[in-house]
């Protein structure tokens, strides 16, 4: 200790030149730290621009839709200033009609109508029709509007308009879990024939769990073979496992369509072998079976690789030790080998499940109506109904579910124990 200059009275370690050791250390490491940061800065920037910002925007959009308030600020202000259930007065109606006329002129009337239509079906035409005639309307406006369409007197319509008049709303999340607001604004279930999302979420998670289980069942023996075979055989097998990775996802899915369809390879083979009759062809596609079969195949490598990387590190002497201690091969597997593969099982299952929950292309192509997953509906709202806020809310719920799962996994197994390869 004699050669380390220590300021005993102050209790601070000092470098040879008298500066506190901590300062000297920080200064000495600054350069290295700055250089390390510069090296990762491009990636940081890339991730920020392509990942964090879009996801943030999506999450924002799921609670924020300013179409109404942007196009009809004065009507929105009236809704804000009056309590729920207030009958619209002439001034408010005058403002509404003025904006309807202006919006019709500017051709934005459809946007407002669409926004209201999200919450209450069949109201878009109400707005476009009113917009066409708004310029010619005269007081009393209430009667004039009712004259165009009696629905303008419906309190449900005004309640809905009140709901959409604020830019920030939780209504898209309510819609995403098959809930809506009734006249006095309390949350209720939607009519059973309109409820789609909860069952779809349920189906997505059940099918994903099934696919994960099948992947584990099929992948475990393969991974074990890979880990125990001599290198020259295991390399070949590894190429076979990785081969699907090198093929386009679309090609693989299409190949499954060729195999699974009613007149496809599998059915034809079964028919020609006489196992099934020509009229009894098995429906393996455009239903859940198709989704499960094709997705299990596509996601299998994601199960095999983490399992393999864990199994490779398990010394064969563990099983030998168990056997020499008197365990049958089954006991040795169950009590010694299997527990040591748990990190791989956990990582592989988590990976496959998370990928399956968000899978889109395969169910879209082979899923038919019953094999659709939640991501297909998100895509529908993004591309067809253009209800991006609802799509964002559905996606956010999916994200939250996956994060919850990850948290659960961390609590049960520990993320530190996870091995991805």
């Amino acid at each position: 200790m004699a050669d380390i200059p220590a300021d005993q009275s102050a209790g601070i370690m000092r470098a040879a030149d008298g500066r506190p050791l901590k300062v000297a250390l920080a200064r000495a490491q600054t350069r290295a730290r700055r250089r390390a940061f510069l090296l990762v800065a491009p990636l940081l920037f890339f991730v920020l621009v392509t990942f964090v910002v879009p996801i943030g925007q999506m999450l924002h959009r799921s609670v924020h839709n300013p179409t109404f308030v942007d196009n009809m600020p004065q009507v929105a202000a009236w809704f804000r200033d009056t309590p729920a259930g207030t009958e619209p007065d002439e001034a408010a109606l005058a403002a509404l009609i003025a904006y309807l006329a202006a919006a019709a002129e500017a051709r934005t009337i459809g946007a407002v109508g669409t926004r209201v239509n999200y919450e209450m079906q069949g109201t878009r035409s109400l707005f476009t029709a009113a917009g066409r005639r708004a310029g010619r309307l005269e007081a009393p406006y209430r009667e004039a509007l009712l004259d165009i369409d009696a629905k303008w007197g419906d309190p449900a319509l005004w309640s809905t308009m009140r709901q959409v008049s604020t830019a920030y709303t939780a209504n898209f999340y309510l819609a995403a879990v098959d809930r809506t607001r009734d006249l006095d604004g309390s949350v209720t279930r939607v009519a059973p024939d309109r409820a789609v999302y909860l069952t779809l979420f349920q189906r997505t998670f059940l099918l994903s769990a099934l696919i994960t289980f099948l992947c584990l069942l099929l992948g475990f023996p393969i991974a074990h073979l890979l880990a125990t075979l001599p290198l020259r055989y295991s390399n070949l097998l590894m190429i076979l496992v990785l081969l699907p990775f090198w093929t386009s996802l679309l090609v693989r899915t299409t190949a499954w369509m060729v195999i699974l369809q009613g007149q496809g390879v599998l059915n034809n083979a079964l028919v020609s072998l006489g196992i099934i009759g020509d009229t009894g062809r098995v429906e393996l596609m455009y239903n859940q079976a198709g989704t499960v079969i094709a997705m299990t195949h596509i996601l299998l490598p994601f199960m095999v690789l983490p399992l393999y990387s864990v199994m490779r590190t398990i010394n064969p002497s563990y099983v030998r030790a168990a056997r020499s201690l008197g365990a049958t091969s089954w006991t040795a597997f169950r009590r010694v080998y299997l527990p040591q593969t748990l990190p791989g099982i956990g990582a592989g299952s988590l990976l496959v499940f998370i990928l399956a929950v968000g899978y889109y292309i395969t169910p879209a192509l082979v899923g038919g109506a019953s094999g659709q997953l939640i991501s297909n509906l998100i895509a529908f709202h993004m591309q067809n109904s253009l209800n991006w806020s609802l799509a964002a809310a559905l996606a956010a719920l999916l994200l939250a579910a996956v994060l919850a799962l990850y948290w659960l996994y961390d609590r049960l197994v520990g993320v530190d124990n996870m091995k991805l390869g």
Partner: protein, 367 residues
């Protein structure tokens, strides 16, 4: 090599052969019987077949030909878990997901023992290796030596009559290894179990074993107690493999009544004990241990033949001096002297006459 046929040997290998690829034999006609309570070490370089023999005994490899018997019962077709043989592995193979106590409980649980009995046995086994307080730890929380002890306790906890050890001390540092050799030997003495021990460390084999089987090229080269192995190696391989060894190639000049004379490459004539030579004119290698070489005439028996040696190098090693010299054309002839009071240090370039007593010079096969 002696095979006690019909002997009530506890473990017996009879004409055992093993091939992995159907082209070469890893073990060639192994005959070995091990007595009950014996500590037998299989010693040899890697690839000599010793570990394969152990694995065949444990049941992890099947013999291609021949019979292995345990307590008179052929065990070739008995699966490993029914053989009741304890085994200590090179990397300990302690189950990482179980605590020490659970590791020890494993062989007892698979034998369906009662809970109280299991606990009593675990406690006794842990106390036996002085690890009584470590039952709740995981293997990763133990040092190498502690893991070694637990592995030992686990192999012994179900009271097998035979324990196999596959280079169990290979991963430990030198000091700990020597300490553990001592402990394993004591456990063996105290419990009276039969131990078959595999190692490539010859000093380990010599300090621990009742008998050592030296393996090379799939065959047992010599099976003997340590002292005999060191003092009277049966062939050149054993002489070279066990301890340090000087070799002097030459030709047998005369041979009679358990003594022979050998003409060395430099023309010198020395006396030796004929081991692997039977007739005059045969090529031979004479083997002499470095510590049996003497350069002070007063310490040699009267009339002993001496050989001219030129000192090439003197190395101070603390407790001993190593002198490398040229003898009969061999530049690597080593003489080891104890660093005793008044011991003379030879200078490089010095010429001395060296000698030894005849029984220490063994005329072996020319390898």
């Amino acid at each position: 090599m002696a095979v006690e046929r019909g002997d009530a040997a506890f473990v017996a290998f009879e004409h055992v052969q093993k091939s992995y690829d159907g082209e070469t034999l890893v073990v060639k006609d192994l005959n070995l019987s091990i007595g009950k309570g014996e500590f037998l070490t299989m010693l040899g370089p890697s690839g000599s077949g010793k570990t394969t023999c152990l694995m065949m005994l444990a049941g992890f490899e099947t013999a291609t030909h021949g019979e292995i018997r345990l307590a008179g019962r052929p065990i070739n077709n008995i699966p490993p878990h029914k053989r009741g043989i304890g085994m200590v592995f090179q990397n300990y193979a302690l189950f990482p997901h179980m605590t020490v106590a659970e590791n020890l409980a494993f062989p007892l649980q698979v034998r369906n023992l009662g809970k109280a009995e299991i606990e009593a046995k675990i406690k006794r086994a842990l106390d036996m290796v002085q690890m009584g307080r470590f039952g709740g730890r995981r293997p990763a929380q133990l040092s190498g030596g502690q893991q070694q002890r637990i592995a030992l306790a686990r192999a012994l906890v179900f009271e097998p009559e035979l324990v196999l050890m596959d280079e169990p001390l290979g991963a430990l540092d030198k000091q700990l290894r020597e300490h553990m050799q001592f402990e394993i030997k004591h456990l063996h003495d105290a419990l009276g179990v039969t131990v078959v021990y595999v190692t490539h460390d010859q000093s380990e084999a010599l300090t621990m074993s009742d008998r050592v089987a030296v393996f090379n090229d799939g065959r047992i080269q010599q099976l003997a107690p340590p002292e005999e192995l060191y003092e009277r190696p049966a062939n050149s391989f054993v002489a070279q493999f066990i301890g340090e060894n000087n070799t002097l190639p030459g030709t047998v000049e005369t041979i009679a009544d358990g003594a022979c004379t050998v003409r060395l490459a430099g023309g010198e004539l020395i006396e030796a004990v004929p081991v692997n030579v039977s007739a005059a004119g045969e090529r031979t290698t004479v083997s002499i241990r470095p510590e049996r070489v003497e350069f002070k005439p007063e310490r040699l028996p009267p009339g002993a033949r001496t050989v001219e040696a030129e000192v090439l190098e003197f190395i101070y090693m603390g407790d001993t001096f190593r002198t490398r010299m040229r003898v009969a054309g061999n530049d690597n002839f080593v003489m080891k002297c104890r660093n005793s009071i008044g011991q003379r240090k030879l200078e490089p370039g010095e010429r001395v006459a060296i000698g030894w007593v005849t029984p220490d010079a063994r005329a072996l096969d020319p390898h």
